[in-house]
């Protein structure tokens, strides 16, 4: 391998260190108007009266649009591929603006003004009266008989699902011990550093052009078409540089409104960039999920029966809805083995911000429940917690009985062995004495598994287009989306690898434009290196084939005996035949048979490999303050072959940091009486800073996945999945106290330690 497997410098590095990378809000368009949204100051209710006349009269205000002025139909927002089967389509429960208020900050009206200041002033001139209902903030309140329906006719249930495999009664009868427990996770926010924002205008032919910070340009185009009720071909979506997404931009958030507003103002450009406070509540959050687990185990540690029930809190709109907890139920099933397994889940509406996709898509939640539960069982049975997990893991060759996907590479046992060595698990365990002081140390670990894409639940499709230039370099276009994770760089490496040219001869077009770039569903489900990477590989192979055939014509050498290396055509012995540039030039200008080398490829995947990994952590808990210090933490990943070690390490660092935030600090808080968000800003919502980040040790076990373009599996989301349960298990090891609720912040720890008589 020449390019794949190397720490190639990011293709966007220069633009980013010079401040030349343009994000939505950096792009200047003439005559741009500014939008501000008038949001509800109640969480549940209905607008009785709305008076926008004073706002409309303010000089500088171009238009004020309310729920009365927008189309009456509803549309979905989730960034899933369209499904032709209506039963599998996303819940369409949004209108552009609403009089039925479903969360604190719901969107009632929009002001379009010549500048931001005027728009903000106009908001203050809008008068509103509400009919208020009790805010519904818990599953219990949502499901109680007679609860106000947040969406009519739903009983506040978005969906329920269940599965059962094996004979439950028979399996449970074989158990020597049965363990039951409950876990709950918190509502957190992706907090991409760039807030959600978009602008829209109409071009001369009447098409609506939307420029937006999105992970899913092609899906966004469809949803804007649905929201406005116009043919999808009349919508054009452009994606410039994206300042992080983490799932919240795998959703259509501000785009339909700006698209609609430009049609109201005759096609003039209108821009809406959310404030940080708005992004917290009006984009998407991670579902808080409550889990109940029941597991039957034999004395030797063999699990015979497993059951999980889950209730997922979705907020006021469905967004990705039930798909999240369904994914929890899926990976719950994939990781460990048993004779019989049951899963049942419910997703409910509440009067909180809409929950959608966030890095890990239901898996950080379920792995917290599952691998804390596994730890507790191992301890109760006095089994080594590592051996207990290893004994029950699903192995290579496992075929999921529901999805039919097969595991062809599984490096988890090696990952566990490596983590164990890195943290010096055995040595530290052996040296550990009875601890009695105020500061106590403990070791913990946890595992996860994840897929690469969504097949067979959803379409998995990706496009790549390559044109070879006269000098032998190539233009590479992908429909896949760079949002910081480094996909543009790894696609460049892949094209270079297969074409036999250096990476700097690949010119990747990073901006997505649905008019130009090939169809791809976008950046989510850690799918791109696997699904879109295969499209790149196929396109590069086609170009190479055309080059060699043309060189064959030029030289009379059989194309089968030719290859490309270092931008030279070489023969079967590796001897240089002709510079690639000479073949490319001839391809363009040969009077008899000019035909530039181009390829336009779609890859449609029907495989889905599992990636695996684990976190090992050592913590020091200060009983007196409830503070947890992470002393050492290692994340060991089987993501198949690593395409770019430096970028992969970066994914692990960032994911572990986010996972530690999830474990120890992050949580959106709402006033229980009013549903008002109390910490929707970066001061009161505690994110990890440089000062609280420990050393993070990324490590890899490189299996070779046979179905992948270059042996690779998913890498983007996995690092965030296991830190929280590993830290929880380490706190348990240190203090003997089980924390089954996230986050494990000092306040919660302190109260528990007091209650347990530890302080």
């Amino acid at each position: 391998m020449q390019s794949v497997g190397k720490s190639v410098r990011r293709v966007d590095a220069v633009a980013k260190v010079r401040g030349m990378a343009d994000y939505v809000d950096d792009i200047f368009v003439k005559d741009m108007l500014q939008v501000k949204v008038f949001r509800s100051t109640i969480a549940n209710g209905r607008v009785k009266k709305l008076d926008v006349s004073r706002a409309r009269a303010l000089p500088g205000v171009v238009v004020v649009v309310t729920y009365e002025d927008v189309p009456k139909h509803t549309f979905p927002t989730a960034g899933h591929p369209y499904n032709k089967d209506p039963k599998h389509q996303d819940v369409a429960d949004r209108r552009l603006l609403t009089d039925r208020v479903r969360f604190f900050g719901d969107e009632i009206a929009a002001v379009v003004a010549v500048d931001e200041l005027t728009a903000v002033k106009a908001l203050r001139l809008i008068d509103v009266e509400y009919e208020q209902y009790e805010p519904i903030l818990t599953a219990e309140a949502a499901l109680i008989d007679g609860a106000v329906e947040i969406h009519e006719g739903t009983k506040n249930i978005i969906a329920r699902s269940e599965y059962q495999l094996g004979d439950w009664e028979e399996a449970l009868a074989q158990a020597d011990e049965i363990f039951e427990d409950e876990f709950s996770t918190s509502t957190v926010q992706p907090c991409a550093l760039e807030n959600h924002g978009a602008y829209a205008y109409m071009d001369a032919s009447g098409r609506v052009v939307v420029c937006t910070s999105t992970q899913i340009p092609h899906i966004c185009r469809r949803v804007v078409g649905q929201a406005l009720g116009i043919p999808w071909g009349r919508v054009r979506v452009i994606k410039p540089c994206v300042g992080g997404g983490f799932g919240s931009k795998q959703d259509v958030v501000v785009e339909p409104l700006v698209a609609f507003l430009t049609t109201v103002v005759g096609g003039r450009p209108v821009k809406l960039v959310l404030t940080r406070e708005e992004t917290f509540i009006a984009s998407r959050v991670r579902h808080a999920i409550q889990f109940k687990l029941k597991t039957g185990v034999k004395k030797d540690g063999a699990i015979v029966a497993r059951q999980m029930t889950a209730v997922s809190l979705n907020g006021g709109y469905a967004s990705h809805g039930h798909a999240i907890v369904d994914n929890s139920g899926e990976k719950y099933r994939h990781l460990y083995d048993q004779l019989a397994i049951k899963f049942a889940a419910t997703t409910v509406y509440t009067n909180m911000p809409a929950a959608g996709a966030m890095r890990g898509y239901g898996i950080p939640q379920v792995m917290f429940a599952l691998d804390c539960h596994m730890e507790d069982i191992a301890r109760a049975l006095r089994l080594d917690p590592l051996d207990f997990r290893l004994k029950n893991l699903n192995k290579t060759g496992y075929t999921d009985p529901i999805l039919g996907i097969t595991v062809r590479s599984n490096g988890l046992p090696e990952c566990i062995a490596k983590g164990r060595r890195l943290i010096r698990w055995d040595e530290k365990k052996a040296a550990r004495r009875q601890q009695s002081g105020p500061k106590r140390r403990g070791l913990g670990m946890a595992c996860f598994c994840y897929t690469a894409g969504t097949y067979p639940l959803n379409l998995e499709i990706a496009g790549a287009r390559i044109v070879m230039n006269q000098d032998g370099s190539v233009q590479l276009q992908v429909g896949a989306v760079e949002m910081g994770q480094g996909s543009d760089t790894v696609f460049s490496q892949m094209a270079a690898e297969t074409l036999g040219i250096p990476v700097d001869m690949v010119h990747l077009i990073s901006e997505q434009d649905t008019e130009i770039t090939p169809f791809d569903t976008g950046a989510y489900a850690s799918r791109q290196t696997y699904i879109s990477g295969m499209a790149v590989k196929k396109a590069a192979a086609e170009i190479k084939d055309k080059v060699l055939r043309h060189c064959g014509l030029m030289t009379g050498i059989s194309p089968q005996s030719l290859d490309i290396a270092d931008a030279w055509v070489v023969d079967h012995k590796g001897a240089r035949v002709m510079p690639l540039a000479e073949v490319a030039l001839d391809g363009y200008y040969n009077l008899a048979c000019a035909a530039p080398f181009t390829a336009d490829v779609t890859n449609s995947a029907t495989t889905n490999p599992l990636s695996y990994g684990c976190t090992f952590a050592e913590v020091e808990v200060d009983l007196a303050t409830g503070k947890v210090k992470v002393l050492e933490i290692y994340n060991v990943h089987d993501s198949g072959k690593i395409i770019n070690p430096q970028l992969a390490e970066g994914q692990v660092h960032g994911g572990v940091s986010m996972g530690l935030g999830y474990a120890l600090y992050e949580q959106m808080i709402f006033d229980p009486a009013t549903g008002e968000p109390l910490n929707n800003n970066l001061l009161d919502y505690k994110l990890m800073t440089a000062a609280d980040t420990p050393e993070i040790g990324p490590a890899f076990v490189e299996t070779d996945e046979p179905t992948a373009p270059y042996g690779n599996k998913s890498m983007g989301e996995p690092p965030v999945m296991s830190p929280a349960p590993a830290v929880r298990n380490a706190i348990l090891d240190a203090t003997g106290v089980k924390f089954n609720q996230l986050p494990m912040n000092p306040h919660r720890l302190f109260e528990r330690f007091k209650a347990e008589g530890l302080i």
Partner: protein, 159 residues
């Protein structure tokens, strides 16, 4: 609204521009001077994306009323390095993989440069402290801290 003339030095060049008293420096830089390398992630002094260097100190430009920059010397990301040249910290950010989405990067580089202007032998604690006000959601800070350390070393070698 009465506008005033703000005079200051921006990336080594004198600038005169009409601003209104409620303008914040970040908006003057981004909207009036079209220097959009300085980012805005919160507008409230919480994230550090808008960090610039004013009279030698790293500050959040979203918290600085524009008129406070009167007669000051201001550096933004656009003034770092130069045509065909990079500041050592820009080089190490690129070489050591300290960049992901890049939205925090200009602010991170400005905070780092302010530190390195004062000392080319920072301890890792000093680096953490200098970056504590700059949020990065992508990198977990590890490679950023390494890059600042490596830049310091590069600068020491040159001295």
């Amino acid at each position: 609204m009465s506008s005033k003339i703000l005079k200051f030095t921006l990336n080594g060049e004198p600038v005169e521009i009409a601003v209104s008293p409620e303008d914040m420096l970040v908006d003057v830089l981004r909207d009036k001077l079209e220097l959009t390398g300085t980012k805005k992630g919160c507008g409230k002094g919480e994230c550090g994306a808008c960090t610039i260097i004013m009279d030698g100190e790293a500050v959040n430009s979203c918290l600085v009323p524009a008129m406070k920059a009167m007669s000051a010397s201001v550096e933004t990301i656009e003034g770092i390095g130069g045509p065909g040249k990079f500041h050592p910290v820009q080089e190490t950010f690129m070489d050591l993989g300290a960049i992901q989405c890049g939205f925090c990067t200009p602010g991170m580089i400005m905070s780092s440069k302010a530190l390195l202007d004062k000392t080319t032998s920072p301890t890792s604690q000093e680096i953490k402290k200098a970056l504590a006000g700059n949020i990065c959601r992508c990198t977990g800070y590890v490679k950023i801290e390494e890059a600042v350390m490596a830049a310091a070393e590069k600068m020491r070698e040159k001295q």
